[in-house]
């Protein structure tokens, strides 16, 4: 197979170049080393339109050096020297770039930024580059690479592209890649003039959820040919049913993920407020500290962004926890038995924390990077893909909940915490070191808030105000679930998330939120102590 690929290597590539830019296909393009050099030089032009043509010419040149040039260009690493206009690939170094000539592929040593001029790409060019690279990777030995190359070609195929795919299809051994190519070819067949081909393609694609299939079928439905119209109508109906189903699944997933964010934000509060009874207005700021910790950790280990998040979790727990303990020792300790006063003091603390962060880190948002393993999505089918960051956050949320639940319900710390919160004096008379328990518990709740901050840094902005965005929702979740009940917080958060997401499509984001609030207000009339009320005889 490999030999075949090598033999045919250039033909499909330039064809693809043609198919991408049909306008240029009129003349037979030059081929070979000279053509490559010419094309490379043409890249230096000012206008994007002309550069597009240069790229097409480059691809058509069928030179072996094309692929690295395209890749460099895509990654904004292709330059030319200001002095002698040599096109080079630059690798960023400490102070400037180490550059390599494109034509002779020889290193030209280092150059400073001011000596180089970048060969700019825009959106449209990037698209072309990517397709070009994809075509070049169709012969890659790794099936995953080929698969993604094929996937790149959706919507970008011309007749020539079909030819390449058809040729490649015969030699392709990987079943997944074959399937994908098959789908692409069928989609192409849908626009065929031959009604049998069309009908066959419709039948073959009637299960495909790819949007392009739908768009094409949509057109075919209005066809004058009764049979085609009926067949595509049926296929479309089936597809639409499927899509509707997956849309629901997707919404549910969105709901779960919003819910998990709510739960994460609220769960620390479920401890400090729910169990200890401190109306902790600084909770949001503790979340914020966790997020900033993530930022700092990333600054400290820029080489290991993937790892940084894992390091940030314990770090954020410690930082927020320590701040929490400090707050408890300095302020809250004096306020037990005066729950409303805690609101006042923690409100003050939240202002102070915000301003502190603003002073240290500036009022601007900080950029927290998303590690590779958390970006992208898990594609279940073309209609349903679940984003990794959300998936991880849902899992993370459940994990945090489980750990916390065990700590509170099963450990002696948990028992002491509950005892102290219910009757401080008596707990002390039972030999429980109430002040230590308080500090630890508050630290625990705060630490969990910090962990939530790590998660939130992955989906929203990290700035001095971020805490305020979550404090209201957090209280809402804890109260809705039932104060003092961890399950309540979990179920409450998830149900609010899901309710919100199911309402959003027909009510819009704003109205959905209002409706959820109204719902909570009415719900509390029915159950004045939340979803899972704390039961028991009241005196």
């Amino acid at each position: 197979m490999l030999s075949f690929v090598t033999k045919n290597r250039f033909l499909p590539v330039w064809l693809l170049g043609l198919c991408l830019l049909p306008a240029l296909a009129s003349a037979t393009p030059p081929v070979g080393s000279d053509a490559f050099a010419q094309a490379v030089e043409r890249l230096q032009v000012k206008s994007y339109k002309e550069r597009e043509a240069a790229v097409a010419a480059l691809i058509s040149s069928q030179d072996e050096r094309v692929k690295p040039v395209l890749e460099a260009m895509l990654n904004a690493r292709l330059f030319y020297t200001k002095k002698d206009k040599i096109t080079v690939i630059g690798i960023k170094t400490k102070d400037g770039f180490s550059i390599t000539g494109v034509l002779d592929q020889k290193s030209l040593g280092n150059a400073s930024k001011s000596q180089l001029k970048k060969i700019k790409v825009n959106n449209k060019l990037r698209r072309i580059l990517r397709a070009g690279i994809a075509a070049l990777t169709l012969s890659d030995p790794a099936p995953e690479v080929r698969l993604s190359a094929v996937k790149q070609m959706y919507g970008k195929l011309g007749n020539a592209g079909i030819q390449i795919l058809t040729t490649h299809f015969e030699t392709e051994t990987d079943s997944k890649v074959r399937e994908e190519i098959q789908t692409l070819l069928h989609i192409h067949d849908l626009s065929s003039d031959d009604r049998n081909t069309v009908l066959k393609a419709v039948a073959a694609l009637s299960k495909s959820l790819h949007p392009e299939v739908r768009n094409k079928l949509e057109l075919l439905k209005d066809s004058t040919d009764q049979e085609i119209s009926a067949a595509s109508g049926d296929a479309l109906k089936h597809i639409q049913e499927q899509l509707a189903f997956y849309a629901k699944v997707k919404t549910a997933f969105f709901g779960l993920s919003l819910g998990s964010v709510l739960v994460l934000a609220a769960i620390g509060l479920a401890i400090t407020f729910g169990v200890m009874g401190v109306i902790n207005m600084a909770h949001g700021e503790l979340i914020m500290l966790g997020a900033y910790t993530t930022y700092v950790i990333q600054q400290l280990m820029p080489q290991y962004i993937g790892m940084s998040l894992l390091v940030a979790i314990p770090a954020a727990f410690l930082v927020s926890g320590a701040v929490g303990i400090l707050i408890e020792r300095l302020v809250i300790r004096h306020l037990y038995g005066r729950p409303l006063e805690t609101l006042l003091a923690t409100f003050g603390i939240s202002l102070i924390l915000q301003q502190t962060v603003r002073t240290i880190f500036s009022p601007l948002n900080r950029s927290v990077e998303t590690p590779q393993w958390m970006s992208g999505f898990l594609e279940i089918n073309p209609a349903l893909s679940l984003t990794y960051n959300r998936l991880y956050i849902i899992l993370f949320c459940l994990l945090v909940f489980a750990v916390l639940f065990l700590v509170i319900k099963k450990t002696s710390l948990g028992l002491s915490v509950r005892a102290v919160s219910q009757n401080r004096a008596m707990a002390r008379a039972m030999g429980i070191r109430a002040s230590r328990v308080d500090a630890l518990t508050f630290g625990l709740g705060s630490g969990i808030a910090g962990i939530a901050g790590v998660a939130l840094s992955q989906i929203t902005n990290v700035g001095p105000n971020m805490g305020q965005d979550y404090i209201i929702d957090s209280f809402m979740v804890v109260v809705f679930g039932g104060v003092g009940n961890l399950w309540g917080t979990l179920i409450g958060g998830f149900s609010l998330g899901i309710a919100n997401k199911f309402m959003e499509p027909w009510a819009g984001a704003v109205l959905a939120k209002i409706l959820v609030l109204v719902f909570i207000i009415l719900f509390i009339q029915k159950r004045p102590r939340g979803l899972f009320p704390q039961k028991g005889r009241v005196n």
Partner: protein, 360 residues
């Protein structure tokens, strides 16, 4: 009539100060020439007027929180509704002086391509109707919300968070442009009230006097409640709600009455506030704003009405002063003030004077 001030040193002082201010401030502003050392600038008059409106709001909060024990995190909503009612009146007074020169429609409605004033704006061109609405709208909302919540015996933090949800929902709703209240920009660019230009010094002084009078009356009304037997029952409800039921009081009715009354006061405060600051926008509904109100009361001293007034003045004055004098660090100062008062003055600033009284 002043029996209710018996033993209320703070209240006596407050009313005395208010009467002095009502006489002195206009004289110092309108009669004493500018540049004279004793001249009180219109800026100061308006500022004081704003504080007075806030003080009335704080008194309203104190009544339900300090005395009845309902930590309302939604009083900002009642304040804002009163403010909007006033704002709607003022808006319709602009007439054709708006940017589009439309004699009937406020600018934002012209912009939204509305053909006529929506039904819920009808009548607001009439001052008295608007004034009734200032009391009625917040009162009605409080009544409906309270009737539901108190009957269902929603108490404690549950109630607090529900009031917060209420104001939050209203905030989101008023932010919506379709609501017909000007969206995020709210109502602004007012020209005159009852035919008097809002920009003239005498109108501003008049508004100041109106605010002072409203505060005095509001204070006396609250005081009358507090010293009556009803006031004692209200405090009992705060301490042991259940027990009050068993001696035959309808706790839900009492709570509802006080809550509604307090909401009306808040609405009036809002109506006084708007013409003096010149804008009302959904930001007033923001939950954090309502929390701030509670903080004023706590700083001043809960369950002493004059403490609430004191707190409103101190916190807002600090804010005015510090945002100008120490714009970079004022949040530290304010935050520290909150923390320190909580720690060292559990009864707020009013507690300080009480201690002194006791010591003397």
């Amino acid at each position: 009539m002043f029996y209710m001030l018996k033993g209320d040193r703070g209240g006596q002082a407050l009313l005395l100060l208010l009467s002095i201010a009502v006489v002195l401030v206009p004289v110092l502003n309108l009669v004493v020439p500018e540049g004279h050392a004793l001249h009180v600038s219109t800026f100061t008059v308006t500022l004081l007027g704003k504080y007075l409106a806030f003080a009335l709001l704080a008194v309203a909060v104190d009544l339900v929180w300090g005395y009845m024990g309902i930590l309302s995190l939604g009083h900002g909503a009642f304040f804002a509704l009163g403010g909007y009612a006033m704002g709607m009146y003022l808006m319709l007074q602009i007439g054709d002086r708006g940017v589009y020169g439309n004699p009937d429609l406020p600018d934002f409605m012209v912009f939204l391509n509305w053909q006529e004033v929506p039904w819920f704006w009808q009548g607001f061109d009439n001052f008295w109707f608007a004034m009734i609405m200032v009391a009625l709208v917040p009162g009605l909302l409080a009544f409906v919300f309270g009737a539901l919540a108190f009957r269902s015996r929603v108490t404690g933090v549950y109630l607090s968070i529900m009031t917060q949800a209420l104001t939050y929902a209203l905030m989101l709703a008023f932010f919506r442009n379709e609501m017909g209240f000007g969206g995020n920009n709210g109502l602004t660019d007012f020209k005159d009230i009852l035919g008097f230009s809002l920009q003239s010094d005498s109108t501003r002084v008049a508004l100041f006097i109106a605010s002072a009078a409203a505060l005095a009356l509001g204070y006396l009304a609250c005081r009358a409640i507090v010293v009556s037997r009803l006031g004692k029952v209200v405090v009992a409800i705060r301490d042991t709600e259940d027990r009050v039921r068993f001696i035959g009081y309808r706790v839900d009715h009492i709570k509802l009455a006080i809550f509604t009354f307090s909401a009306v006061l808040a609405g009036i405060a809002g109506a006084l506030y708007v013409p003096q600051v010149g804008i009302i926008n959904p930001g007033e509904f923001s939950p954090l704003r309502s929390i701030e109100l509670v903080v004023w009361v706590a700083i001043g001293g809960r369950a002493t009405l004059y403490g609430a007034v004191l707190g409103a003045f101190i916190v807002n004055y600090s804010k005015t002063y510090l945002t100008g004098a120490a714009p970079e660090v004022w949040l530290f100062a304010l935050g520290a003030l909150f923390v320190l008062v909580t720690l060292y003055l559990p009864n707020g600033l009013a507690g300080l004077s009480k201690k002194k009284e006791a010591a003397a």
